[in-house]
Structures are given as C-alpha cells and as structure tokens.
Symmetry: C2
Subunit: 439 residues, 2 copies
C-alpha cells in the first residue's frame, strides 16, 4: 500500500470542500479502505483561506504547472471551471500520466468526447461525477451500475437556482423578477444569473449525461435551450388549476429517430415524483430498458455535496492505485454517432395562454387555427380581463412542435388576438418509458 | 480480450431475467464495453422454460455442482434463494476462485460478513446489488460512490408488496385483509405473505445495507421488526387528518450510542419524498455527512429490474477480467464492531389510538398517564363511538420508547380504557440528517 498523491487546482467552493473533506476523513479512508490520500499540492489565485482549508505553505502554489509537472502526483483535481487553462490542465495531466477528476460542466459539456479520448490514449481516466447533479451519483450509475441496460431516457431537475426560484414562485405566488432579486440577495443566485436562468448550466449537464448514457456525442450546443424568464405567476396558478407543476427540465431521450435533447420549462403532473423536488435540490430520472424508471435525488451544488462526488471519484482511482494496479481504462464511450433530432420533430402537449378581444367569435377563430394546424384541444379555460380583453388558456393533446409553431404564428396574426403571452410544453412523461421490457 | 463465462444457478423470475437480458444485450455489451459474456452453464430444478430463456440442452444441468466445478466459469450467479444449497454454492465457488453475484437477501441478511470474508480470503468478490432494493443501485453507491462520506442514515421503502398494500389502503380507504386478498389474487403478494407483511424481507435488506454502509456487522436478527398487519383503515384516515402518510419503513441510523436499526410502520409528512412512493416501487434515502440527503428510487422487484442489478454486477467483474486483470478485492468491510442499540432507547414521536368509555374524566386520566411517564402531547382528537365509547387519538412530542411502552401498559390498566387499538411511530426524520457538515 502506498500513499496516493492528489493535486487540487482551484480552492473555491468545490476545491475548498474537497480539501476539507479529505482532511476531515483521511484517517477513515485509511482505516476503512486502506487508502492513504495526501494533498501533495494545491493551487489557487489567492491564498487567504489556506489556514481554514488546512493547506500549508509548502503545499500551496499560485502556478498550476507546479501541480501538473509534479511527478509524485497521481490524480489532478481540476475545479477552477471555465475553458482555459482548464483545457491545458487536462491535456498536460493526461500526457504526463495523471488521472483527472473534474467538476467542470461548461468545459465537459462542450468537449467531453475529445478529453475522454485523450485520457484513453494516455491510459488514464477522466472522471466527472461532480460535473452533473453535484453529489448525486448518476454519472457512475450510467457508466457502470446500469450498464446492463439500454438507456432510454435521462431527465430531471439539474439546476438548483432555477428550481429554487420556481419553487418559491409556486409556493408564494410571486413573480419571477421578485424571486430572482430575493435569491440574489440571499446568495442562491449569481449577480449575473444568465447561466442558470437561461438554461445553459442544465444544458451542459444533460449534454454530459446523455453523451455518457447513450454512448454518443451530444454537446451543449446541440441542446435546445429555453430558460424560465418568461414563466409568470399567472402560468403557475393556471398550471396548478390543471393539476400541473412547472419545472425547468433537462430531458434527453434516445429515440429511434435520434437523440431528443432539450432544456425548457415543462408542466408535469403534481403527483409525479419530480413535482415534489423543491428548493435547490436536484433529481435525475434514468429509464433503462431493463430496470425501468429510476430516480436519483440529492443536492446539486454546495461545497460538501460536490466534494462528496469529487472524493468518490478520487477514491475509485486510489483503490486500485493503492494496490499497485492501474485503473482499467474506460471503454471508448462516445462512438454511437446518433443524430440529434430537430426540435420541430418533438411531439408533446402544449399549454398556450393568450390575451384576446372579449368578443363572441374569438373561441371559434382561435380553435379553428388549432384545427387547421392538425392540433386538437384537451382543455380550455377563459376569464374576463380589463379593457374588453379576456384571457384564454388552451391545453392541447399530443401535437407536433412544427405544427404548434405554425399555429402560434397564425394566432398572432388574428386581429382578435392581442398577445400570445405564454407557451409552455406539457411533458409527455409516458414517452420516457417507451421501450422498457415487459417482465 | 477473452470471453467471460457465466454460470447461472436458478432460472426462476430473477435467473430467467438474467438469461434473457444477457441474450438480448450480448452484442451491445461487446460493442460498447468490449465484454463478451457467455452463459456457459445454467442450472435449475426443472427445464420447461429453456426455449423461452434461450438456454440450450448443452448449457443446462440439474446439478449445481456442474456449474461450480466447471474450470472455465469465471462468475457464478446464485439466484435460487434460501440458505441451502446457496451457502455451499458460495463456499465452493469462492474456494475454486470464482466470483459470486447473488440476489439472496435472506442468506446475506444473516451471513454477509462471513461470506464476504470468505470471498476476500480467496481473492474473489461477492457482489449483491440485487439483494437490496432490486434494480436500484444503492449497494454500489454505499460501497463506492458515497465512500467519501461517513454514512449517517439509510432508510426507506424496501418492500414492494407492503407498499402496494399500504398505497391501496390509503388511496381507496380499504382494510388490510381486503387489500392483501386482492394482492394475492393479482400475484402481487405470495400465498404465504409472512416474509413481506411481517417485515422480514425489509429487515434482511436493511441488515445488508447497514452492514455495508456503516462497515459493521448487522444481521437480520438484530433488526427490530414489526409488520403492517395491525395498520387499519381508521389509522390511515387519522394519519391523513394529521398530515401524515403511513409507510413500512426500514431505518438504520449510525448514532453515537450505536446502530439504531428497525422495520416498522411509520408516519411521515405527506409532503416528504418517501410519502409519494406508491405501489410496488422502492426508495432508499441515504444521508452522508458530506453529501447530505440523497434518495434512490426504482423498482424493488421484477424479472428485468432485478436482472439489471445482477448484470451490472457481472459487467463490473467482467470489465477487468476482459482486460486480464483480477478485480481488486474489496477492503474488509465489516470491522467497525458497532453495538446495536436497544429499541427501548429510541426517541421519536408516537401516534396512539384508543377506545375509551365516553365519560367526563377520561381525558384527564389518560393525559395524566402520559405526563407521569415523561411524555408530552402535541395533538389530540376525540370522537364519539358506539355503546357509550369514544375514540381518542394522541400524537406525542419526542418521547423515549421505554417511557412510551410503560405509558401504554398504564393506559391499558385504566378502567376507562377499553383498548389501546393502535400505536404507530411518527418518524423523527430530522434526526436522519444529524451530523451533516455545514457547507
């Protein structure tokens, strides 16, 4: 048994959590698993928290090259985020025979295929459990525990900030802007909330998870992305009336016509497991053709939850290394070459809220538009508004996105329609389990 | 890369599912992971389903010794259940250098420590993902993904039959006997439902999970066990009035004074994630000191869900074996030697339903009993019954089980109390997360 040397690059929330967790549990890992983890070097742009993190002056460096170039280091933990120098840290670590553990969803959402191939070429591993859904061990479940399955669907709540905002909007009847401001004041949302609120963060995660789960190349730019800025308190109330909750879902389905991958607000039945995921928690549904529906729930962010995933990856590498065995290289995971489906080919149900002139012909004219576009209606509600207006809400049966978009354009062209205020997809959850084997 | 030879002993629901899943996905495993699985031998007591399972006459044998003695076989899958000859199959497989994958919760609930030690002595692995919560990958999460954590609590719904019964009782207002009979007729419950209904099955599973999670020895006989036979439609309705659902929970907590491990009906808030786990589904909460609360949800039984876990274990062994590498032996996992706590030391809240004489002094007399036993009351409801009786329901604040048992004896000794009809614990869920690190 030998000491396993770890180099941590980045000592922010996640890196600091990793340092503190290893220091806290070092003796347990040794006693329980015979693994002696040592933080050989730690790198950051500033050194003000070193005492708090238990990092000595000898361990610390401002220059990441000192970590990557250290021949004693077995495992590099990259937790600085961003594209550069993270990319160079990966590349130089791999070529010098070091394994990399990373939580960098933005980088991996774009380049996981390239970086994983580079790791495999150099006979080392790239592990990224913390890059999707924080402490929830869903990456490993997709790579290994559920590997007996064909994975049909990966879908869920993968961004804590937006789920916190939507939960408060639903529970307190507040508007988006109001809750966002409160979330920013409380530190639950960034000063620039774009990456969370507009869906980029969730898109990066579903790109990583679908690449791994479907063994194909899905990058963040492949993901249809729509954020939650246009979800209103009125939509929340209307959804509740229809028996739905509104959640920002990241969804990837492995369909016969290609990968259906998207991030957008969606209505789901209030009694669905995902509807009761509140606050900043995350939950990921994975449907396998053998196991059927599974769900993994937990904290998607935070210092220690994310560190739990990073340290889990470190220990998985350290276990064989401690026994003098090189970790088995991962099978080339991204070679399925599945096409990504056009969003216009989506079939689902839709909720449409519009403001119209409160005249006798308005229902006939608007329902005619849906009929002309091959869309049938399952629910409707109308109530009077100010200035001779009325609000009409339609919920459709399953329809094609292409037809729905055409219908929206036709509706907006009608004189009686003042505004199509909101279009929200009602997710066809039954489709997630299409292809599960009969027992 | 070499073919990995598997021998399956038992071709019932699980074994048949394993054979069909491997046959169905053989080419995928080869293409995706470079793993060529071959079912070299398969053993059962009868051979009527061989065609359906894709097992040839050459593969089949009635004698399990033919499987264990075959020098070509790498991995033995034991899915016959029961204690004998399963024990001998484990022992002879290990001594002949074969890894064992098993779903045998009854055997492992009693002897996982002994069998795991025997595997380690022989340099092979015992894997049992399917033995607890079917297809849900919680065993592996405890062994590896969450290994950076100290595990504080493992708790959840681990028996599908009882959850099916309780769900129907809650949703349809039916009594236990009625739903059990319907469940038996529909094949959801066995003709002899004892192992499910009286908690033995869930106790085996929590014994296995707590042994692995807490790295100590917990056997089924250590688990306090109370089934659901005494849960009535009236309790269900009363619970709903108080905002609770009643679930059969298996709970293991790693406390400073020992392992608190038990299976019993429990009331939990209706808005808790576990309350919305319906029908035959299972869900396991795992609380780690770093990751906090996580939950794993899925099918706890069924041919393909269980086969998913078995084949996941087979592939985890086959991956290194295919590369000519022996799987790393598991660290000795059961050496923590934690004491198992006396059930009388439990602190939780209690629901007590009793039938009393409808007289003016009855509230004073019964509340006096609680006060005398150091138990304070948080909720009370009373309603009139037939024959000059009344039903009183009390819900206590946190109290000690020892005091509660004494109070029940005192209540039963009162002349005005006709019957203490029901005592159900109201689980102190906050206690599950005691010890989680602050972020």
């Amino acid at each position: 048994m030998r000491t396993i040397n770890v180099g941590i690059i980045g000592l922010g929330t996640v890196g600091g959590g990793v340092a503190r967790l290893i220091n806290e549990h070092h003796d347990d890992y040794l006693a329980n698993y015979g693994i002696d983890l040592s933080i050989k070097r730690a790198c950051a742009r500033e050194d003000s928290r070193l005492d708090e993190l238990g990092i000595s002056a000898e361990q610390f460096t401002f220059d990441w090259h000192d970590v990557v170039a250290d021949p004693d280091i077995d495992i590099v933990v990259e937790v600085i985020g961003g594209e550069h120098p993270a990319t160079e840290i990966f590349e130089e670590s791999f070529t010098s025979g070091k394994h990399v553990v990373s939580a960098n969803k933005a980088l991996l959402g774009r380049h996981v295929e390239h970086l994983a191939a580079l790791a495999a070429e150099n006979g080392v591993q790239l592990r990224c459990e913390a890059a999707a859904a924080g402490g929830i061990p869903v990456v490993h479940a997709l790579e290994h525990d559920l590997s007996g399955n064909g994975i049909l669907t990966i879908a869920g709540i993968m961004n804590g900030t937006t789920n916190y905002i939507l939960s408060r909007m639903a529970n307190e009847g507040l508007g988006f802007d109001e809750v966002l401001a409160a979330a920013q004041a409380a530190g639950y949302a960034e000063a620039d909330p774009t990456a969370d609120v507009d869906g980029f963060d969730a898109a990066s995660k579903i790109a990583i998870l679908s690449s791994i789960g479907f063994r194909t190349r899905v990058v963040t730019d492949d993901v249809y992305m729509q954020g939650i800025r246009n979800v209103s308190a009125e939509d929340m109330a209307q959804a509740a009336d229809f028996g739905y909750a509104i959640k920002l879902l990241a969804i990837a389905r492995n369909t016969p016509t290609g990968v259906d991958v998207r991030v957008h607000p969606a209505m789901i039945p209030v009694n669905h497991q995902l509807a009761s995921v509140n606050g900043a928690m995350n939950a990921v549904f994975v449907v396998g053709d053998a196991v059927g529906e599974t769900m993994f729930y937990g904290a998607g962010a935070g210092a220690f939850p994310t560190a739990s995933a990073v340290v889990g990856d470190i220990l998985a590498l350290a276990d064989p290394l401690s026994h003098g065995i090189a970790p088995v290289p991962e099978a080339e995971p991204f070679d399925a070459n599945l096409p990504v489906r056009d969003m216009l080919d989506l079939h689902t149900r839709y909720y449409i809220r519009m403001t119209v002139d409160n005249t006798s012909g308005v229902l006939a004219q608007t329902t005619r538009v849906f009929a002309d576009n091959d869309i049938s209606i399952s629910n409707m509600s109308q109530h009077d508004g100010a200035d001779g207006s009325a609000t009409i809400v339609y919920v459709t049966h399953i329809a094609q996105e292409r037809n729905l978009q055409a219908a929206i354009a036709d509706l907006e062209a009608l004189d009686v329609v003042r505004e199509v205020a909101s279009v929200i997809r009602v997710e066809d959850i039954d489709a997630w389990s299409r292809g599960v084997m009969d027992n």
